[in-house]
């Protein structure tokens, strides 16, 4: 089974966001970067699919700055076979341009499955996986929380509002992974050592400018700290009164 996993280097979820002096981007000073948490599920699932098939290859691909090599090494340390970095400069707000660059690389690679995390926790774009599927004319299932693949087709469960949707699809396919699909493995020391020797190809890439223009990145208005209504259950009637008469939400 030949599998590609598209991953992204993102700021850690505990990052305190500071806006850069251009007023349009994140101030990266002091920010710790990690492998996008949803992509960890994708890498893990790829490894399990290959292990179950008993043969195959897991390629991890990232589009991003030179520093994303480190992110790829993390996935290689988990067990992926080789990495490809589509190395870019600057920030690309238009997910379609990212999808086009990835699709060009994934096209004709003879892949059975292309995995993505359901979204990146930085731009929250939630779109590159299904866009790649459309560009490559492949079926796509997003936010997969349970997956079974056998005999050239798959069954997946995806969470929808108030329930779970069970879908069948044919291979090859694009899938995006949701938390709960699996428990990603931690890279063992042996894996970390081995990852240093695994092939990592760097391809300079220049995505198109796209058709989205960033006007500003701002911090949301600070919430005013409210009031402590009181202590213990005795404060409940006053809370309910405030919610009804002041906040008018009940």
């Amino acid at each position: 089974m030949k599998i590609a996993v598209c991953i992204k280097r993102v700021p850690d979820s505990e990052t305190r966001v500071k806006i850069a002096s251009d007023g349009k981007s994140l101030d990266e000073a002091g920010v710790k970067f990690i492998l996008n948490p949803y992509d960890e599920f994708a890498v893990e699932e790829a490894l399990r699919l290959k292990e179950k098939a008993g043969t195959g290859e897991v390629v991890v691909m990232a589009l991003g700055p030179a520093a994303a090599q480190e992110t790829i090494r993390t996935a290689l340390a988990m067990g992926a076979d080789r990495g490809v970095l589509l190395q870019t400069q600057g920030f690309h707000p238009d997910g379609l341009e990212t999808a086009k660059a990835l699709a060009a690389e994934l096209k004709d690679a003879g892949l059975d499955v292309i995995l993505f995390g359901k979204m990146a926790i930085d731009d929250y774009n939630h779109q590159v996986g299904p866009m790649v599927a459309e560009l490559l004319d492949l079926p796509c299932v997003t936010t997969v929380a349970h997956l079974e693949i056998a005999g050239g087709k798959g069954t997946a469960e995806r969470e929808i509002e108030g329930g779970v949707e069970v879908v069948e699809f044919s291979l090859p396919a694009v899938l995006t992974t949701e938390k709960g699909l699996n428990e990603p493995r931690y890279p063992a020391l042996k894996g970390i050592m081995a990852a240093k020797k695994k092939p990592l190809e760097i391809k300079p890439t220049a995505p198109g400018p796209g058709a989205l223009e960033i006007l500003s990145l701002t911090l949301p208005p600070e919430r005013q700290a409210g009031k402590i209504v009181g202590e213990g259950s005795a404060a409940v009637p006053e809370l309910v009164r405030l919610l009804r008469e002041e906040a008018k939400v009940l």
Binding site: T15, E157, G232, S233
Partner: protein, 326 residues
């Protein structure tokens, strides 16, 4: 003319509530585009869908139902083709989806087919000199990104619970068109519904959320009882700590690696308020915190707080809410 096409959703044969928000948002956008732009509401279904005739009341000038035997359930590829073909028939300046489970799956496919960018999960939209400008939360709501869409159509998805439906006394014209063609290679076999009355945290008007302060999984019963007291309007949410501990399903998780929510009322119970959690719920209209630690960060964002033992405070609150609905 730059008309607006609103793509709607249905479940169990009826239009979903989130689609009322989509029509409302589309109407707002059409009015902002000016020039008498009209709103076409698009329903993809196997047959007639209940509630289609109500959509005029939310601002649809025309309701177009495209029928196909495969459209009874969500069919990403069939829907994509039908929407892209429909766009060729009118001068559409914008295309609007819900940022729902189906909308977030479908909108990217449609956008890619059209070769257009997608602005996903927006919380506000306006038009300046004919160009659509949208605002969307990024970094789980720790920052807001404002983008201008260059060219047309603008493809947008609207965050649930943000575009409050506005009713107006008007009926939309109805039109039904039968389509040929397959639904595609992804086929919904079954929907396993959550227990009756369970709301999704992303769409609930009220969320009662619990954290480690609940002490053990069984204690979430007190939150379920509080949620039930809101008579079908509330969902139970959870912090990352309790989801990672396996106490609650991840579908309930609020925060940067869970869902970003904007309910009218968010009640945080036994949640200290880690950055990643605050990021996911800070756009709630009103936040109430119940915590025994008066220095917990959650009180810094809460509109109202009660310092105390949640096992005393929450049952009392449940009783008071029941009285209101009594």
């Amino acid at each position: 003319m730059s008309n607006v096409l609103a793509v709607l959703e249905h479940r169990d044969g009826a239009i979903r509530k989130v689609s009322h928000e989509v029509v409302t948002g589309a109407r707002r956008l059409a009015d902002a585009l000016g020039g008498g732009a009209s709103v076409d509401a698009l329903v993809l279904a196997a047959g007639p869908v209940r509630g289609s005739d109500q959509l005029g009341g939310f601002g649809a000038d025309r309701v177009i139902t495209l029928t196909n035997a495969a459209f009874g359930s969500y069919a990403p590829e069939g829907y994509t083709r039908a929407i892209a073909d429909r766009l060729k028939t009118g001068a559409y300046g914008a295309l609007v989806f819900a940022a729902s489970a189906a909308g977030k799956d479908l909108a990217p496919r449609v956008a890619a087919r059209l070769g257009r960018p997608l602005v996903q999960d927006i919380t506000d939209v306006r038009v300046v000199s004919g160009a659509v400008i949208a605002i969307r939360p990024v970094y789980a709501g720790k920052a807001l990104l404002e983008v201008r869409v260059v060219g047309t159509p603008a493809v947008l998805s609207l965050r649930p619970n943000v575009f409050t439906p506005v009713q107006r006394p008007k009926a939309g014209a109805q039109q039904t068109v039968a389509l040929d063609g397959s639904g595609g290679r992804v086929v919904v076999k079954q929907i396993k519904a959550a227990p009756a009355g369970t709301l999704d945290v992303a769409e609930a008007a009220i969320i009662v959320s619990g954290g480690r302060g609940l002490k053990e999984p069984a204690n979430f019963k007190v939150l379920e009882e509080l949620a039930a007291a809101f008579a079908g309007r509330a969902a139970v949410g959870a912090s990352r700590a309790v989801v990672d501990a396996g106490w609650r399903p991840h579908a309930d998780q609020v925060g940067q690696t869970g869902k970003t929510v904007s309910p009218t009322l968010y009640v945080a119970v036994g949640i200290s308020g880690a950055i990643q959690h605050l990021a996911g719920m800070r756009t709630s209209k009103v936040i109430v915190a119940i915590n025994k630690d008066k220095d917990a960060p959650i009180f810094k964002v809460a509109d109202y707080g009660i310092v105390g033992d949640l096992f005393e405070v929450v049952p009392r609150l449940t009783a008071e809410i029941k009285k209101l609905h009594g």
